[in-house]
């Protein structure tokens, strides 16, 4: 299988108020193209640190991290920014959309840091918005959208650059359970239909159940790595739920 992520004896230490913290202790891991992985663990397990390293926001203390074949440990600040721009789509718990900026412009944002011409930026952003079922609302501001819709805009922003991986940090943490399933349905669809590699960091087993592979962390070590033979299908789950008035499901 084509490997997108390769971690080889990864160690991350940092200091917090003078005391050294061994956040990751010798982690080796491979994630292949098209996988849907949930990284789980209690707080302090090192999953956030791993997330930051996978997202090229932080560098490992030692060990190697190959993203799409590139050893990102050797890169400087601006080269890392370029890698993030081209290869990674971020989805955050708090959405992190720019206020007073339309959905379309929010989605366009990563393309502003590329040389993409304006027309193509707009076309790709509209395509990304329709992929998450929000093409009708491209002019809306975040304040005019529900939490689920805001997270869908954030997902559109993550996929607009056609990244190698989507990194979602507690993407459903701020959402109710029905909306959470809707978001997971989008991730599943992107994973199945577009072959996108999706990595979701979560502490909720309900959410991890939609992933094809669950990796558990504890005390900075990889504790368990399980392949789920038949993960839950979010779209089917939604059909079984009683219909609700708050959001129209356009997945």
């Amino acid at each position: 299988m084509d490997r997108v992520i390769q971690l080889d004896h990864l160690v991350k230490n940092y200091h917090m108020g003078g005391t050294p913290v061994h956040a990751l202790k010798d982690v080796s891991l491979e994630i292949g193209r098209g996988e849907f992985v949930a990284i789980m663990g209690p707080s302090g397990s090192g999953k956030s640190t791993l997330m930051n390293i996978l997202g090229c926001l932080d560098k490992p203390t030692s060990g190697a991290y190959l993203l799409d074949g590139i050893a990102v440990g050797q890169l400087d600040r601006d080269e890392l920014a370029e890698i993030r721009n081209q290869k990674i789509g971020f989805v955050f718990q708090q959405f992190n959309l720019l206020a007073r900026t339309s959905a379309l412009e929010n989605v366009e944002l990563p393309l502003l840091y590329t040389t993409t011409p304006a027309r193509e930026r707009r076309d790709r952003s509209m395509a990304a918005l329709s992929a998450v079922g929000l093409s009708e609302r491209y002019e809306h501001y975040p304040s005019q959208l529900s939490g689920g819709q805001q997270q869908r805009v954030a997902i559109a922003r993550a996929i607009v650059t056609h990244p190698r991986i989507i990194l979602a940090d507690e993407p459903t943490g701020a959402l109710d359970s029905r909306t959470s399933i809707e978001i997971m349905a989008i991730f599943q669809r992107l994973n199945r239909e577009a072959g996108m590699t999706v990595i979701v960091v979560t502490h909720e087993p309900d959410i991890a159940a939609y992933a094809g592979r669950n990796i558990h962390f504890r005390d900075g070590r990889l504790q368990r790595d399980l392949v789920i033979a038949s993960p839950l299908d979010a779209a089917r789950e939604l059909e079984n739920l009683p219909a609700e008035e708050n959001e129209e499901v356009t997945v």
Partner: protein, 410 residues
């Protein structure tokens, strides 16, 4: 990222906090307006002095008789009889740096026409005087060398005299009386306005030198050919001191002065006097501008302050931008463009207000003000530089944020 896109983003960010942006700009607006208005007042004064120097005549050197001592009593300068018409001719002929010389005699006289009378000063001279003083004829003609040779009773009136004697009527061709002697008015001069020392340069009558001696000032018993002042025009502004240096030894030689004797004449270079005045006006305008620039710098500090607040407020936005691929220079330029946009908007508004203020000053205080395009350009560029200078530190602070910390910032 493209500059245009950056400016759009900056304008949007500034619109979000309209009041705050306006107040921040106010510092720059006041600074730029003050600089523009102050420099306008200063250059207005300079221009006025320049204009007055032009009104005396360009490249003008005056040669006056020196002070004389009779029976132990020292009389002031300008009363002697040591200068003559022949000195004037010699200067014109022998000094290469001199283009024209006009001898003059002066006197006061009561002049009359019909029921009107007026006390004015009479200048007896030659036609070259008009060229040296840059006087032009409004109507009629100037008197000629023949008039001088024949002691013709012809007069050329300054506009003040013409107005007081003739009202609005054309004086040319009329017969008027100077000290009861009838003179034919041959022409009227174009008004010159005030001299730098505040005299009315139009309250004068020009008549031929010979006529003046005979009818107005009388002839000195000591020296029948003596004149009051020699008006000398140098060939160019650079030739002024050369002309001065040529005139002095020539006159000393002609007056047979020994080495230990003082000059019995005075050479006065008026341009030098007024150039000193002009440069002091310029220094004043620079000082005013410098003081006003202080408020521009205060305005810049205001921008820096508000940009720092803005960077702190938007830490999460910066974190997000960094996470999705903004490079250090992208964030740097975003905030720098924002600061410069702020300061340039303030600068343009300040320029408009400064122009308005200088118009108001010249209207209310009757000072002449001059808003020069250079001052406007300088103010514009300077306000942009203020934006760059005071915007750089906050922008750099934003650009060097750690994306992880910035994203986590509450």
């Amino acid at each position: 990222m493209k500059l245009l896109a950056s400016i759009r983003i900056a304008l949007r960010a500034l619109r979000v906090n309209r009041m705050r942006s306006a107040l921040t700009m106010l510092g720059i607006i006041i600074g730029v307006a003050a600089v523009i208005a102050m420099v306008a007042v200063g250059s207005g004064a300079t221009a006025r002095i320049k204009e007055q120097i032009q009104s005396i005549g360009s490249n003008l050197i005056m040669v006056l008789p020196g002070s004389i001592t009779t029976s132990g009593m020292r009389l002031g300068g300008g009363v002697g009889v040591t200068l003559t018409e022949d000195d004037g001719r010699a200067i014109a002929a022998e000094c290469p740096a001199v283009s024209l010389v006009a001898p003059t005699v002066r006197g006061g006289a009561q002049v009359m026409f019909g029921n009107n009378n007026w006390a004015t000063s009479i200048v007896g001279t030659t036609p070259d005087y008009l060229k040296i003083r840059e006087l032009s004829i409004l109507s009629g003609r100037a008197f000629t060398d023949d008039d001088v040779a024949g002691a013709g009773k012809v007069a050329l009136l300054g506009s003040t005299v013409a107005h007081n004697l003739f009202g609005d009527a054309d004086p040319v061709g009329q017969i008027m009386r100077i000290k009861n002697v009838p003179f034919t008015v041959v022409g009227e001069l174009i008004p010159k306005g005030q001299s730098p020392s505040g005299q009315d340069q139009d309250d004068v009558i020009l008549i031929p030198l010979s006529t003046a001696r005979r009818q107005v000032t009388g002839t000195s018993q000591a020296n029948a050919r003596s004149v009051g002042t020699l008006m000398v025009q140098a060939i160019g502004p650079q030739a002024m001191s050369a002309a001065e240096a040529e005139i002095r030894p020539l006159l000393r030689q002609r007056h047979r002065l020994q080495n230990d004797q003082d000059d019995d004449f005075t050479v006065r270079n008026l341009a030098e006097v007024f150039a000193a005045q002009e440069s002091s006006a310029r220094v004043m305008s620079i000082l005013l501008g410098a003081i006003a620039s202080v408020s521009l710098i205060v305005g810049g500090i205001g921008i820096m302050n508000i940009m720092l607040v803005s960077v702190t407020e938007r830490t999460r936005e910066i974190g997000l931008r960094l996470a999705i691929g903004a490079k250090t220079r992208d964030i740097l330029s975003q905030f720098l463009v924002e600061a410069v946009t702020l300061s340039l908007l303030g600068g343009v508004t300040g320029i408009a207000i400064g122009i308005g203020a200088s118009l108001l000053i010249s209207y209310l205080a009757k000072w002449s003000t001059l808003v020069s395009p250079t001052a406007i350009m300088l103010a514009f560029v300077f306000s942009g530089l203020v934006g760059i200078f005071f915007g750089y530190y906050p922008a750099r602070k934003a650009a060097l944020l750690d994306p992880i910390d910035a994203l986590r910032y509450e």
